[in-house]
């Protein structure tokens, strides 16, 4: 049993370190959900084999985590004590849904305890993040047995079901709060709170007994880290197979961990020089070619507009017959319209065609001659 506890603690600690790309609220929520999975598991080893490794779970979360979209969401919730995930475009964030899918897959494989196997995992379990009054109203239409197993692991007596139905959400929220209160993540590591650090002087035997109750007695990362050598012979073969598997997979997935890291554009020098040498004369030639129709458009525009103005002014100067005046006014309108068309054509050649050509050449150079380099 001690081996299981240590594996669970190691798993969560490693996962906490790997989830540094997430916002603090999201990371703590994800860790709380994984901790709940461990608590609900019938056998911890089965769950660990199902989850395979913390790195794999971190990659899974990284693929479903959009930091840009979460940024605004987290900032709007920064003044709230608990995050409200129900406002995320009408549904939960993708990383929570990913963990939920994981829980459902684990439940389908019979990893969780039998009480929870009989009950399907639905989205109501996320209602703990909402206000307690809202989910209680939604659950009133449901039978009490659907919500109880998700929250409380022990069977409750029938007369208390009504109260438990109302308090089910708050109990689960209390469990998450207890986990979040016991731990704080700083510098990518899980660190127990100050109140728990005071209990460090207790004997280890007492800790090992209380360790399975993860929500009540948090593990101490400082105690685990300086004792790697004494633990290895004690754990023996039980951890050997799993650790070798997880290490091998971490090596394979290590490039994927860099996916959310920042990238920097780096120039490919030789292609860039070649591109500059060839692109500048070609661009100048194309610009000169485009200048020909541009100047023609300008000359036609000036001609037609000036002709239209002259005809229009002449209409009011020397014509006394109404029929001739109408013809002259119509001719002036047609000339001015054609002049306007050529004027717009000139503007389009200057601002659209030539400027677009130069922008396209620069963009093509940036695409061909620069590469994205990941920076940790």
């Amino acid at each position: 049993m001690e081996v299981n506890v240590i594996n669970k603690q190691k798993f969560l600690a490693e996962l906490g370190r790997l989830l540094t790309f997430m916002y603090e609220e999201d990371r703590q929520t994800a860790l709380a959900m994984y901790s709940k999975m461990f608590d609900d598991a019938a056998e911890e080893q089965l769950l660990l084999q199902f989850l395979i490794s913390p790195t794999r779970q971190a990659v899974l979360l990284a693929r479903s985590y959009d930091a840009k979209e979460r940024k605004l969401q987290v900032h709007t919730q920064s003044r709230e004590e608990e995050p409200d995930y129900s406002d995320y475009d009408g549904q939960f964030p993708p990383f929570i849904l990913a963990i939920d899918d994981l829980q459902q897959s684990a439940a389908a494989q019979g990893i969780f305890s039998p009480v929870e196997e009989t009950q399907p995992v639905d989205e109501d379990q996320f209602s703990l993040f909402d206000e307690p009054a809202a989910p209680a109203q939604e659950d009133e239409n449901l039978p009490p047995q659907e919500t109880l197993p998700l929250v409380s692991e022990q069977p409750q007596p029938l007369p208390q079901e009504a109260e438990e139905e109302k308090d089910s959400v708050s109990e689960f929220a209390d469990a998450v709060d207890a986990f979040l209160a016991d731990f704080s993540i700083a510098d990518g590591e899980l660190i127990p709170s100050h109140s728990q650090q005071e209990d460090a002087g207790e004997p280890e035997a007492e800790e090992n007994e209380a360790a399975p109750q993860f929500d009540d007695q948090p593990f101490r990362l400082e105690e685990l880290s300086p004792q790697p050598l004494p633990q290895e012979p004690a754990e023996g073969e039980a951890e050997a197979g799993e650790s070798s598997l997880s290490l091998q997979e971490e090596e394979e997935l290590s490039p994927l961990e860099d996916a959310p890291a920042a990238t920097v554009r780096k120039a490919k020098v030789f292609p860039l020089i070649l591109y500059i040498i060839f692109s500048i004369p070609i661009t100048l030639l194309l610009v000169l070619l485009l200048l020909v129709p541009t100047l023609f458009s300008l000359s036609f525009a000036v001609t037609f507009v000036s002709s239209g103005v002259l005809v229009l002014t002449g209409a009011f100067a020397g014509f006394s017959i109404f029929a001739d005046l109408m013809v002259i006014l119509g001719l002036a309108l047609v000339l001015l319209a054609i002049g306007l068309l050529f004027t717009w054509l000139f503007i389009w050649f200057i601002g659209g065609a030539i400027a677009g050509l130069i922008r396209g050449v620069i963009r093509l150079g940036g695409k061909w001659c620069f590469k994205e380099v990941a920076v940790r």
Partner: protein
């Protein structure tokens, strides 16, 4: 640019349509192109400028070719 094209083409189309209507009305009410040309020539000396450009063009042709 796309909206600019739409607006310009719409204005040009409307202006040409109005001009055509005006010219049609003028033609139907008895306009005479010879009289119009004579009036414009008296005001802007169109015939004189036309003859001047023809002479310059023929001179350039004789020099260059």
């Amino acid at each position: 640019m796309k909206s600019g094209w739409k607006i310009i083409l719409l204005v040009v189309l409307i202006a040409i349509l109005l001009g055509a209507v005006c010219m049609g009305v003028g033609m139907m009410t008895g306009a005479d192109f010879a009289r119009i040309w004579a009036t414009l020539d008296d005001k802007y000396h169109v015939e004189m400028y036309y003859q001047y450009f023809v002479e310059v063009w023929s001179l350039l042709q004789a020099e260059l070719i």
